[in-house]
Amino acid sequence: MKRPKITKRIVRNQLVAYSFIIVSLITLLVLVYVPMLTTIRYSTYKVGLVGYGEKFVGWANYKMLFSQKAFWKSITNTIILAVMGLLTIPVGFILAVLINSLGRGRTQEFFRVGFYLPNIITGVSVYLIFQVVLMGSGGLLNNFLGKIVGHPVTIGWLSNPKYAKVGATILWVWMNAGYSMLINLASLQAIPTDLYEAAALDGATAFQKMLHITIPNMKACFSLLFVTGMINGLARFTDIYIISGSNTSGGAGGSLQTILMYIFQYSFETPNYGISSAGAMILFVLVFAFTMINVRLTGFLKDEV
């Protein structure tokens, strides 16, 4: 007589538990898993404009992409820009070391908050401002450089193919150095102070402390910033798109076109969904590799449920 009651309670508990998660699970299924599988499928199909009338074409989309110079260029652009963007790590580290050496207090708090400000307000408005800062004639950066070298400088930081990646990296470092500083500072402050005290007793110089205590203790922080920097850098789109004048072919004769801008072109400007899906798969594989490393580093999946 007792059994049905217990089963009923078990079923009820299951239903209640699922009532907390079911909406999110359905959302992920419909808006993440299904579209991702569709991307994989489309990448091997010729897809009609309406999204129907598909025809299997095997590797043809990938072959077509890899035979295109413009696609290779967008891949190399993206990787070069992502690697140049890693400059935020040393910049953030140096800022963090300087800020940390001030000791806890109001001055430290001021710089910590102040240097993070660009990260918060970075959005379309900042890209518009940097369009003017990096302009060839009359731009703020050239103005500043001109004062230093003593004669007018007219480098097209966004229009000259030779310098465009440097200009884009200046913007990237400006936007992201604050984040890197914050993460660096948090790890610096987590290093046990007795390590430094022991070293001081042994008569270590500041440089020796940096080399033998600080840097080895920062390895986890550096690798986290490296991986997240690569993930964000490989999927770079918005800032470059806007500083190129809302143009997906990328400013400066295509030297600023990223993979995502290339995909965007084949998705929404001259739609060819098969090709854009193959491009999206290549981006996915690149980002996936770094995300896996990230998951390992942060232990996201290691956690026991």
């Binding site: 999110s24 908050v113 970075t122 379309v124 408005s125 518009l128 918005t238 995300t291 996201f300 449920v305």
Partner: protein, 275 residues
């Protein structure tokens, strides 16, 4: 002791110099936005407008419906933040405190999503919404918020640290899991909820690619896309109004940051998530 003090002052001065260089572009933009002479040519650098005036602001209000964009963005940010925080708390609670069949599977099902960058499912997602006839509405912006994976991860570890004994009195009174959620878990989780809310507000306010793709009507557009479109349409020499629009669109987040600065910086340092 004296040497240490001098060193500290030197470092402060160096940091101050770097800080000034970093914020100069912003100050220049503000100065240009108030400069009447910035409408026909780029004025030489100055932190004070050459011809101070409000012209750029009044002119840009006539050229761009900024208030409409602000209204749309505030509504979407409010809806999305509420949904994302609520559903990540619900999932976090279930994964931290409840027992059910398939728990481990569904947890991995959720976390695996972090390995699928949004950009790689952009096209099918767009076509899906087109088939549902939901393009050019706010639904594509909202529906994705019913699952907030990063939030779930952080909510779960936060809720996991709340002692079970607090919930027991509710169970003894015959209360359900939902009662526990609303009367014990949510009131005790304010710190993590505000952290997640801040991260959501910032990322929703700055979202650009997805609204650009799914919304065509200016009257429904978000501020990020609206401002960029305005910029692309203007004559390239129209610096003043462009800067005025940039400054105005950056004001809300700047104010939010100045009010909640310590909390925001701490949230980001702890979570490691940028946006």
């Amino acid at each position: 002791m004296k040497r240490a003090k001098i060193q500290k002052i030197m470092i402060t001065l160096v940091l101050l110099a770097i800080f000034i260089i970093v914020i100069t572009p912003l100050l220049w933009a503000i100065s240009m936005s108030f400069d009447r002479s910035a409408t026909t040519s780029l004025p030489p650098f100055s932190l004070w407008p050459h011809k101070p005036s409000m012209f750029n602001y009044t002119a840009s209000f006539k050229m761009i419906n900024l208030m409409q964009y602000f209204k749309n963005t505030v509504i979407i940010v409010a809806i999305n933040t509420t949904l994302a925080v609520l559903f990540s708390m619900m999932c976090g609670f279930a994964f931290a405190k409840l027992k059910f069949v398939g728990k481990k599977f569904w947890f991995i099902f959720m976390l695996a999503v972090m390995m699928v960058p949004f950009e790689s499912r952009l096209v099918p997602l767009y076509l899906q919404y087109r088939n549902w006839k939901l393009l050019n509405t706010w639904w594509p912006l909202i529906l994705g918020q019913f699952a907030y994976v990063y939030g779930t991860f952080f909510a779960r570890s936060y809720i996991g640290s709340i002692p079970d004994s607090l919930a027991e009195s509710v169970y003894i009174d015959g209360g359900s899991e939902w009662r526990v959620f609303w009367s014990v878990i949510v009131p005790l989780s304010k710190p993590i909820m505000s952290t997640l809310a801040i991260l959501q507000i910032i990322s929703n306010w700055n979202a650009y690619l997805w609204p650009l793709v799914v919304i065509k009507d200016y009257s429904k557009q978000m501020i990020s896309v609206g401002v960029a479109m305005f910029n692309a349409q203007q004559e390239s020499f129209y610096y003043g109004p462009r800067m005025a629009v940039s400054v105005m669109s950056a004001i809300p987040l700047t104010i939010l940051y100045l009010i909640l600065q310590k909390h925001i910086v701490a949230s980001i340092a702890v979570s490691g998530i940028k946006q």
